[in-house]
């Protein structure tokens, strides 16, 4: 059930901005970044940022508690990582994918009630909370790009023979290494925090287990990426598999039969 009144104006500006930006990117059909699509995406990111900051101020706590709040932050992370990558590694593609992904996350958030949750349980009231979430979601944002780059490589017939294939795979590799570093930091912070909050740095909880599965899949990629014959399609497949594991860790775990009574579960 959608409660339109529960969402702030920033939410709708971001939602509309991501939708229009995605459309502009798709319609422009060019290899170079669409300038108007980019500006609209930047505007949507600004609105998304304003929404997170205003929620933080209004609730008096980081707005990362519920699935709704995390989806809003995930949209921000994907768009934010895109612009960071544009500046740092001259990413020339992925704007459309970022806009579509952020739009999808906000549409999913729209159907999730309780955007105004503001009562952190005692275990989440910890200095580890914000760095843990930041590391994971920015990591997820980076890994989303490795996924789209992997898909682009796999979906383009004859890509291996094209001049841009090497650049595409190199970019995919960079985003995976950056994302892996961040999810490793998130995992390490999670371990240290769990030891303080629950007296157990590892509880074999479904969410923890899937975070470990994700980490292991990317670890397998990092071990094979320099091996002969594992640098093209196989590497792209692993990048795709890795992000599917990310998605399952983030959203799919909530539907597991073992989630009842688990330590990590979104409200």
């Amino acid at each position: 059930m959608i409660h339109w009144q529960a969402h702030s104006v920033f939410f709708f500006v971001a939602l509309g901005g991501y939708a229009i930006s995605g459309l502009v990117y798709l319609l422009s059909q060019r290899q170079v970044p669409s300038r108007s699509g980019e500006w609209i995406l930047a505007l949507a990111l600004a609105a998304n940022t304003a929404q997170i900051v205003s929620a933080w101020i209004r609730l008096g706590q980081p707005p990362f508690q519920t699935l709704y709040q995390s989806l809003v932050f995930f949209a921000w992370a994907v768009a934010g990582v895109y612009f960071s990558a544009r500046l740092l590694v001259a990413l020339r593609r992925g704007g459309g994918a970022a806009a579509v992904c952020a739009f999808g996350a906000l549409v999913f958030a729209l159907v999730k009630a309780d955007p105004n949750a503001g009562m952190l349980p005692p275990a989440l009231r910890s200095p580890w909370f914000v760095p843990h979430v930041l590391a994971y979601f920015i990591g997820y944002g980076a890994l989303f790009f490795s996924f789209t780059l992997g898909l682009t490589f796999l979906a383009s017939p004859g890509m291996r023979r094209r001049a841009g294939a090497g650049e595409l795979l190199s970019l995919m590799d960079k985003t995976i290494r950056f994302g892996f570093l961040l999810i490793s930091i998130g995992l390490a912070i999670g371990l240290l925090w769990a030891e303080t909050a629950w007296a157990a740095y590892w509880s074999w909880d479904p969410k923890e287990n899937w975070a470990l599965v994700t980490w292991l899949v990317y670890l397998a990629y990092l071990h094979l990426r320099n091996r002969p014959r594992w640098q093209g399609r196989s590497a792209a497949w692993l990048a795709v598999a890795g992000f599917l594991a990310v998605l399952f860790t983030y959203l799919g775990v909530n539907y597991l039969p073992t989630i009842a009574g688990a330590l990590h579960a979104y409200q």
Partner: protein
């Protein structure tokens, strides 16, 4: 052997290791006492012989392909462990999975993470990590691999030398008995602590109460919650063809449970001659709406923000007092005390988890080494 096939050969090696470790564990269930050691040794020797026969050498444990194969194999088992409820009695699996239950139990799918073969594979990973770290003269590489090996070693030390348990402390009662928790199961015996604990004081700080309107929809025989909203912010709820409007919320909410909270609502349905206005009181039974498809409930939410116990630790004549809060454990001697829960009503208690874990410092050191290695590798690449 072509290079492209190497990972699949490594997977074969991992599969062989799994079979040997699983065989040894199964023998442990069947054969008792010293005879098991002998049979286990024979099984290991047979495994090594088979590995050599398939062309594997000790150095194969140190290849990236072996690492990748082990990661994928472990991932599959970890994923399987999240699909099957863990740690129940065999009867539970027999009733739930029917003919599949026996093979599942034989493969330890009821306790994947505590199965001997799973731990054996983790131990092999540790050995591989240590061996690999001395193969390359690169410090970041060594730090990363030794870091993960330390984490695994810390886990082993926690498992073998650690104690974890729970105490239900009643006010002003001296207690020293710990209910032990092993392999994720509570009640695995008792341990008398070398000192006693007394709960001197317990405090709960709550969030200011806020109203919550919950809408339930009939699905067959039962009602399922379809919406929970704050009626002060969401003023309209759609229910099929009808809609519910929040006209007024009496916000005179007391901090101790919200008594007196009421909401005035209006139900609007197309075709009905007039809208039905009614008042809903908080924390009473759900109200069935006309038509019988929806039910409505008003609640006050005031969950705990923080809770803490003032504990007195006593050994002989010496007494030390300390506050234990969530996320702020207290150390006394070699034990650490964590605030884990509480109970109210007629049986008030403070739930304290007690832990002695010589492995955790090793795990923490391993994590720091691993992250430092990752960052060092990143910086070296940039330079």
């Amino acid at each position: 052997m072509s290079d492209s096939r190497k990972p699949f050969n490594a997977l074969k090696l991992v599969l062989l290791e799994f079979l040997v470790l699983w065989g040894v564990e199964t023998l442990h269930r069947v054969v008792a006492g010293p005879l098991w050691v002998l049979t286990a040794l024979i099984a290991c020797a047979a495994g090594i012989y088979a590995a050599r026969g398939l062309g594997f050498r000790l150095g194969d444990l140190l290849t990236p392909e072996y690492g990748a194969a082990l990661f994928v194999f472990l991932s599959l088992w970890i994923a399987a462990g999240t699909l099957v409820v863990q740690g129940r009695e065999p009867a539970f699996y027999l009733s739930r999975y029917g003919v599949w239950a026996r093979p599942m139990l034989a493969l330890s799918l009821d306790h994947v993470f505590f199965a001997g073969w799973f731990r054996g594979l983790l131990a092999l990973l540790g050995v591989s990590l240590v061996g690999v770290s001395f193969r390359r003269p690169s410090w970041p590489f060594r730090m990363i691999h030794l870091g993960v090996a330390l984490v695994l070693m810390g886990g082993l030390i926690s498992d073998l030398g650690g104690v974890r348990g729970y105490m239900k402390l009643k006010p002003n009662r001296q207690q020293d008995m710990l209910i032990l928790q092993r392999q994720g199961r509570m009640g695995a015996g008792h341990l008398r602590l070398p000192f006693s604990l007394t709960l001197k004081e317990f405090r709960v700080e709550r969030y200011p109460a806020r109203p919550q309107l919950r809408l339930f929809q009939r699905r067959g025989e039962r009602f399922v919650r379809v919406s929970s909203v704050d009626p002060r912010r969401v003023r309209r709820l759609n229910m099929g063809e009808c809609a519910l409007e929040v006209l007024e919320v009496d916000q005179r909410i007391s901090r101790d449970g919200g008594r007196g909270l009421t909401a005035t609502l209006r139900l609007i349905c197309p075709g009905a001659s007039d809208a039905k206005t009614f008042r809903l009181a908080a924390d009473s039974r759900p109200v069935l709406l006309p038509g019988g498809s929806y039910a409505l409930e008003l609640r006050t939410l005031s969950p705990p923000r923080e809770y803490a116990s003032r504990l007195a630790f006593q050994q002989n004549e010496a007494v030390r007092e300390a506050w234990v809060r969530v996320n702020h454990p207290v150390r006394f001697q070699r034990y650490r005390f964590f605030q884990s829960g509480y109970g109210g009503g007629n049986d008030p208690f403070s739930g304290i988890t007690v832990k002695r874990d010589p492995g955790f410092p090793v795990v923490a050191a391993g994590l720091i080494l691993f992250l430092a290695g990752l960052l060092a590798g990143l910086l070296r690449r940039r330079s």
